[in-house]
């Protein structure tokens, strides 16, 4: 569904992404993992067209996304920090996105809207909302238009446990619909029962891309967090790029 070829990105002197090659398919839930500053967010933003790559190409359903914008109709994005015009109400923000996406009302996925009970606070101004409530709005927006691809940047940060559960269940259900879901998270325990594949990044490079099962067998652990810890402790032993295709 998404194919990335020889992607490079440089911010001034800093090489943020270096020779990234990835192929991401539908029906997978992929965890994008790596230490701070490893280039995860930049990679996501490149896919979303928010960051313009220095070199390389990204293909979405076989089409190069350079200078394209319509492909983003098929992507739902939940940013790390959801900031909205502070004087708009939740209802207005949702309406604006509906206006932009032009998806008919009956095809909207309002499950999260209902489960997070956003309807009750529809008329609250964005500036009065807590970080968690804004996350709920962001999550709701990401799923609302039934996109083929979901990109979730630290989706559970700031959410209460109950809402985290609601979101996780939602992610699983969407995975069943053969969608591609990309998640970055620091909270590895959250990812355990969600993800099917792992991409590990460090210093702007993809260290490996493999299935969760493979990873667990290789490291002989049953938890993702332990597996990662094992890999990080003997990083030298791991080949630089393990492709999973």
């Amino acid at each position: 569904m998404i194919k990335i070829e020889q992607l490079y990105k440089r911010f001034g002197k800093l090489q943020v992404l270096e020779a990234i090659n990835l192929s991401l398919d539908g029906g997978q839930c992929i965890a994008l993992i790596g230490p701070n500053g490893s280039g995860k967010t930049t990679l996501i933003k490149s896919v979303l067209g928010m960051v313009v790559p220095s070199a390389g190409s990204i293909y979405f359903q076989g089409k190069d996304i350079g200078r394209e914008w319509a492909y983003r109709n098929d992507i739902g994005y939940m940013p790390q920090i959801g900031e909205y015009p502070e004087n708009m109400t939740i209802g207005q923000v949702l309406d604006m996105m509906k206006d932009i996406r032009r998806v008919p009302e009956n095809q909207l996925d309002t499950e999260l809207y209902e489960k997070f009970a956003l309807g009750q606070i529809r008329n609250k101004r964005m500036r009065t909302l807590s970080g968690g409530t804004r996350q709920k709005v962001s999550a709701c927006l990401a799923f609302m238009f039934n996109p083929k691809v979901l990109i979730l940047d630290e989706p559970t940060a700031g959410l209460d446990p109950l809402s985290t559960e609601i979101l996780k269940e939602k992610i699983l259900r969407e995975r069943e619909k053969n969608k591609l879901i990309i998640i970055t998270s620091h909270i590895l325990s959250d990812l355990d029962d969600l993800v099917s594949q792992i991409i590990y990044m460090q210093d702007g490079k993809v260290i490996f891309h493999k299935s969760l099962i493979d990873l667990k067998t290789e490291t002989a652990t049953d938890k993702l967090s332990k597996a990662i810890a094992a890999i990080m402790s003997n990083k030298q032993a791991v080949p630089t790029v393990i492709s999973h295709e």
């Binding site: 979303l48 313009v52 994005y77 004087n87 708009m88």
Partner: protein
């Protein structure tokens, strides 16, 4: 351009306290001046200071801060199926429309009520154009500089430059070349500052008698003709178009 974004930016800004405060401040100043002064041209002269200093200052600083505060939201919009240039241009239109509306309510309406003379109309036109020009310059500042405090700093410096420093340089130049016929060059140089253009146009209305003197006559000859006036209007429109155009170009390639 995307009508929806324009619409939502306007909805958001109309509830903004700063905008409401700015409108009320302008309205209070205008009404106060018009009520205290019985001579319409004297009121226009007092309001001229508001138009030349307050309007550019608020337009550029407010717009810059708004753009920085909206950075995350703008990033989110970019992740949506929208053309980048239409997002940025829509934000310009929204901001511009609100600044125009504020100015029109705050200064335009009282002026139309109390002094709908040629000088009054010129004042309104000048204020409207200056509002748009400084929103446009703010867009350019905000898109070029990532850091919020540096960006606001640059906006303040730009305002100081147009409102004060430019004139100081001009005065220095005038003293240096006082013995040469530099009037025509001065017309050209004044085109480099939209605040000066506005000021001179209004001078030609309210200080017409003095401007009919030797130096002023050259300005009057230029600005008084249809050709000179159209050229001036084109220059003012360029002052709107160029910064916003450059900022759109930059925004298209910007990493968010």
């Amino acid at each position: 351009m995307n009508n929806k974004i324009v619409k939502y930016v306007i909805t958001d800004l109309l509830r903004n306290r700063t905008i409401v405060g700015y409108t009320v401040l302008l309205l209070a100043l205008s009404l106060g001046i018009f009520m205290m002064e019985d001579n319409a041209d004297k009121s226009i002269a007092s309001l001229l200071h508001v138009v030349l200093f307050v309007v550019p200052l608020v337009s550029i600083i407010f717009s810059t801060i708004y753009l920085y505060n909206s950075a995350e939201f703008i990033a989110l919009l970019v992740s949506q199926p929208l053309k980048r240039q239409s997002i940025w241009f829509s934000i310009f239109l929204g901001l511009g429309a609100v600044m125009l509306l504020s100015f029109f309510i705050g200064v335009g309406v009282p002026t139309l009520l109390y002094a709908s003379s040629p000088s009054g109309l010129m004042l309104i036109a000048g204020g409207l154009l200056l509002s748009l020009i400084f929103v446009s310059i703010a867009l350019w500042t905000a898109v070029r500089i990532r850091d919020k405090s540096k960006g606001i700093g640059l906006a303040i410096i730009l305002w100081l430059y147009f409102a004060l420093i430019f004139d100081a340089l001009l005065l220095f130049l005038l003293f240096q070349f006082a013995d040469y016929p530099i009037e025509n060059i001065m017309i050209g140089i004044s085109m480099l500052n939209p605040i000066d253009i506005t000021r001179i146009l209004i001078l030609l209305e309210i200080d017409l008698s003095a401007m009919m003197g030797y130096t002023g006559a050259i300005f009057r000859e230029f600005f008084g003709t249809g050709g000179g006036m159209s050229l001036t209007l084109i220059v003012m429109l360029l002052w709107i178009a160029i910064p916003v155009g450059l900022s759109v170009r930059y925004f298209k390639r910007k990493d968010l």
